[in-house]
Symmetry: C2
Subunit: 132 residues, 2 copies
DNA sequence: CTGAATCCGTGGCGATACTG
DNA sequence: CAGTATCGCCACGGATTCAG
């Protein structure tokens, strides 16, 4: 039975975290926004719809896997819409949904705070690092 | 030379990401807030200073390692202050700095949006999942 | 062009044990 | 009480390959 203890603990931890997420919308949102590519995609789409390949080009550094995976997640959450145009070759456009658009002010609030206080954070880090 | 290509690419990617972070305060802040324990600690401290062990108890599920590591990061960023009282036994209090306090409205904005729109996200997920 | 599937290295995190 | 040090696991992301 000892061999299952680890798995059991993992499951318990996972279950506990899920339960926690269920009762804490803020963290759920944070988990979404925290994704490295989510904010980039959301920002890229804020100016209007974009094709899959456009996104891949604009957001330099993203792999196909992560781009697709992230877009799927955003689509699932209802933040982004996916429109397929059955031409040859196929064309797929991604756009912000209304819900996704509603999120922009929040992103902006984060951006504003960050831009206004990042200097303090940086100097705090510098002070902390040199003090050792 | 082929053996170094992978390592080189990783380094390049890392360097690119660092450069990107340097010019994008919003993502830097997001990287901080996204941490599983940061928001919990910030929220716990919003009501006033707490001792190390208090934090560990209030934030059920956090390991000593992560608690210490997260607190160090927050202290380094100037969001949290660490006060040692050299008694026996030693007493250490953690509190929000002014900068950390300034961040609360942003956290609140995130919380508000999440609480107001989480239902839509959940129903969107449900619709997406059942559609397959 | 837009993806799906697979392999694989590595870094983050939890658990455990030890210290002042 | 408040940490530090070490180890092992596995989940995440990048690269690559195949498909409609």
């Amino acid at each position: 039975m000892a061999t299952q203890t680890a798995a059991q603990r993992r499951d318990e931890a996972r279950a506990a975290y899920d339960a926690y997420l269920a009762c804490c919308p803020a963290r759920e949102l944070l988990d979404t926004l925290s994704d490295k590519w989510v904010s980039l995609i959301l920002n890229a789409l804020s100016d209007g719809p974009l094709r899959y390949s456009d996104l891949g080009r604009i957001i330099a550094g993203v792999s196909q896997k992560m781009l697709t995976q992230t877009l799927r997640g955003l689509e699932r959450d209802g933040l982004v819409s996916r429109t397929v145009t059955p031409s040859v070759p196929v064309r797929v456009d991604y756009a912000l949904t209304e819900l996704g658009h509603d999120l922009q002010p929040v992103m902006l609030a984060i951006k504003r705070w960050a831009e206004g206080n990042i200097d303090q954070v940086h100097s705090a880090r510098k002070a902390y690092d040199t003090r050792l």
